[in-house]
Each structure stands twice: as structure tokens, then as C-alpha cells.
Amino acid sequence: MALPYVVREGLANVRRAPFAAFASTSAMVVSLVLIGVFVFLSLYLRTVSDYVGNRLGEVEVYLDPGLDSLSARALAARSATLPGVVNARFISEAEARAEFQQEFGESVEEGVLPTSIRLRLNPEYANPDSLQRLASRLQGYRGVDEVEYDEDFVGKVQRNLRLLNTAGLGIVLLVVSAALFLVANTIRLTVYARRLLIRTMKLVGATDRFIRRPFLVEGMVQGGIAGVVAALVLGALLAGVQTWSPTLFTNRLYNMLPLAIALVLGLFLGWIGTYIALRRFIRNVALH
């Protein structure tokens, strides 16, 4: 005998009841595609969040008008060592004027604009508390005139991003629970259709664990198939979206991750869904 009884039975069950297997596999495919889409969106939401975080994590440190260029550069180097600072760039008066002209379309007289150090922060530090701490530290340095960042806006955007991230996670959890509920109920129907088999197994002295095993193998086979199908569907969806907008969704890892999750989650969903469906059922099947 090449395969152990439980594996043979598990595979044979798929063959014996193809419609039941099709029903539960389809339920899993739908669930996995939904989960994959949400994982995909959540990942790209993180990209948006990092992008906005990067933009927010900019602090402009205006320097005293009398400070010489050498001291200003030394101050910039010192600022770069502060926690959360990714880089610090000295903006000379000439550069400040060029930027002004680019932004407002008008030139400004020499000696009016202050020199500054522009700090770029790690996105994790782009929150009101960290920024306030950093600002007060910078304020204490000699040669610093004023530290500027958009306090209100930073707070507001951070709150919204946090809300979006939490909502994304909540939706994924909701979809996972709904998928589990759907799969467990579909499997429960297919198990119910085979109560005669369970009754006979109990009659001849099979333990509950033994009865459960072929069903778990069957569930995992269906989950694996569902995972592959869901990954193919997700791949096709992604290809469709990329054709429509080639510049969006270019991160390879983010594009592959939902597919991998669908495959692994398929196996897990098949196993846990069957386990939940069978939990009390076997015990409640009467022999006569």
C-alpha cells in the first residue's frame, strides 16, 4: 500500500463527492481572492502612508543672519546625528532665493532670505510628539533662529493615516473571519452529506481523531487547489490593472505577497475550516 489510509481516503473523498468538493473549493477561492485584494490594497496603502510620512517629516531650521557658512555647515552635520534625522542639508541664501523664484515666480533681493538647514526625518518620527522634541532640542543650539514645521497638518495627517491603516487591518480581519465562517459552513454541509460514513466509522471503533483525519486531508487538498486558483485570479487581476496603469503597482514584493498569502492561507483555511466544521459533529452522529 503506497499511501497511508487517511491520505488515500482524503483524496478519494474529493473524487467521490466532486460537487461538494467544488462547492467548498469555490467558497475558498472567493474568500482568498477577497483577502488577496485587501492585502494588496493594504500594502499599497502603506506605501502612500510612507510617502506622505516622508513629505511631512521635513523640518526647516532657520539660522541667525550673522552665522557664517562654515558654522552653518557644522551645525547641519551636527543636526544629522540627531535621532530620527535621515539627512540634513544646508540651504545657502542663494539656494533659498532660487527656490523662492521657482515657487513664486518672482526674484527676491539678496540678503532678505535667511539661510537654513533642511532636515528629512524617518517617517516614524513624523508625528507631533517627536517633532516637538526635536524642535525644542534644535532651538537650544547656538546660531538657530527658528525651527519650523507644520504642526497641525502633521497631527491631522498622522491621525488619518493611522485610521486608514487600522481600518485596512480591520477589513482584512473581517474578510478572514467571514471566509472562515463561509468555508466552515460549506464544509459542514459536505460533511453532513457523509454522516453515514462517519456513523459506520464510529460503529466499527474509529476514534474521533481518526475519523477527522481524512476530512482534514481533504480540506487541505481543496484549500491548496483553492489557493492556486486564487493566486492565478489575483495574478490576472494585477496584470489587468497594470495594463490599465503601468506606473502604478510596480513594487514586485507587494505584487507577489498577496499571491503567496493566498496559497498558504488556502491550506490553512481548508484545515481550520474542516476542523471547525467537524468539532462537535462527529460526537453528535448517532449510530442508530
Binding site: L203, A206, F210, R283, L287, H288
Partner: protein, 227 residues
């Protein structure tokens, strides 16, 4: 040995009242005995058998089957009790999508046996019930009597010490019923303890043996000739 000591059994009815099946019933069946359990439909014969294979638990008293006692039997030990019994029902309870061979091999597979030993044991059981020539058939290709023979082969394949038969001839015509009873008696003569629940009094009178009747929720010993 089977022993029921002061056993009571009651079922809850849909209106929350209880229906008593046994009330302080006692009986002992020794190893190797042949016993009929008689009584009209609904008198509790099947319920008594269910107590023996632990599909029901006594509400009071003690049921002992071999070394298994109802007062100490845990749920996860029930399969091990059932492996020491062979059980046959009126409706055969064969798996329709499996061959005769697979049906009979089932008790061996579920106890973790595999390989050539299973095939040998299955063929031996089929030969004992006179179906050694039909191992590849499916239940729907067999007559009622043949299906019951397969059920008996399945019940004895793992060498139980006792065979519980719940109305084994209830679905069969008299000629076929006689053959099945003949087969059960042969197994008994080979050493099997046999408990047959039946309301077929013709069979009891034709092949008399110790007869227990369920009467007013008690088990009483009767003379089969009086049936």
C-alpha cells in the same frame, strides 16, 4: 461477560418530559452464550443494545461489557469498547460507494491495520459468511440477504468476542432470514457470544435459546415456547 446491574435508562421527549425505557433492570450474559432479546417494537430492545455499545449511557446503575464499565468509561475509550464487539443492524448500514471488500476491511483500516494481513482477514471473513466469490461487487449489486452477510463479515472481521444483532432479519423474506439465522448460529457454535434482538418469534421458536423479554421496563427471562 455482559452485566447490567440495576440499570435505568430514560430519554427526554420534545415536551421536556422523560420516557423511561429501563427501570432497575438487571441481567448477566456469559461469554459464549446465545441470547434472544424479545419484545414488541418500541419496547426498548435497541436501546438496551445501544447501552452495550455505549451509544447511550445509563441514567442509573452499571453496564459492564467485558472489561469496560459504564461508570468509569471515558468518551475517548468508547471506540476501544466497540472494537471488541461486532454489531449488525436491520438496515445493513453498508457504505454504498465501496466494494464488498472495502466495506469488510473498514474496521481493520480504522484500527490502523494495513497491508496483506487486511486482505487475508477480509477474505477469511467473506468465506465464513459464504461470499468469498464476490469481493469486488458493490452493495447495490447484491441481494438483501447478501448485503446482510457482508454486514456480518464486517462485524466479525476484527475477531470480536461478541456479536450484537439488532433485528438482523427484519428486512428479509423468511427463506433468506433462515439462512442468516443459520449463519449466526454457526458463528455461535464456533465460540461467538451472540445477542440477537428480534420480534421474529418464529425464529426464536425454531432455534430456541435463552430468551430475555423486556417487560414493563424490566428484563425478564421467559421460556421461548410460550411466545
Amino acid at each position: 461477560m455482559i452485566e447490567l446491574r440495576n440499570v435505568s435508562l430514560a430519554y427526554p421527549l420534545p415536551d421536556d418530559s422523560m420516557r423511561s425505557v429501563l427501570d432497575g433492570a438487571s441481567v448477566t450474559v456469559r461469554k459464549g452464550e446465545h441470547v434472544y432479546l424479545v419484545g414488541p417494537s418500541g419496547s426498548g430492545k435497541s436501546s438496551l443494545l445501544r447501552l452495550l455499545y455505549a451509544d447511550a449511557r445509563p441514567s442509573r446503575g452499571l453496564v459492564q461489557v467485558g472489561e469496560f464499565r459504564s461508570d468509569t468509561l471515558k468518551d475517548d475509550e468508547i471506540p476501544f469498547l466497540r472494537r471488541t464487539l461486532g454489531i449488525v443492524f436491520q438496515d445493513f448500514q453498508l457504505l454504498p460507494d465501496r466494494s464488498v471488500m472495502e466495506n469488510v476491511a473498514f474496521p481493520l483500516y480504522v484500527t490502523g491495520k494495513s497491508g496483506a494481513g487486511v486482505k487475508r482477514a477480509v477474505m477469511a471473513a467473506l468465506v465464513r459468511v459464504g461470499l468469498g466469490h464476490k469481493p469486488q461487487r458493490f452493495p447495490h449489486e447484491l441481494s438483501g440477504g447478501e448485503q446482510q452477510r457482508v454486514a456480518i463479515a464486517r462485524a466479525i472481521v476484527a475477531d470480536p468476542w461478541i456479536l450484537l444483532a439488532d433485528e438482523p432479519t427484519g428486512n428479509l423474506d423468511p427463506a433468506v432470514a433462515d439462512e442468516i439465522v443459520g449463519l449466526l448460529l454457526t458463528l455461535h457454535r464456533q465460540g461467538m457470544t451472540l445477542v440477537v434482538a428480534t420480534h421474529d418469534y418464529r425464529t426464536v421458536q425454531k432455534h430456541p435459546a435463552r430468551t430475555l423479554a423486556l417487560y414493563r421496563n424490566k428484563i425478564v427471562e421467559i421460556d421461548p415456547k410460550t411466545l
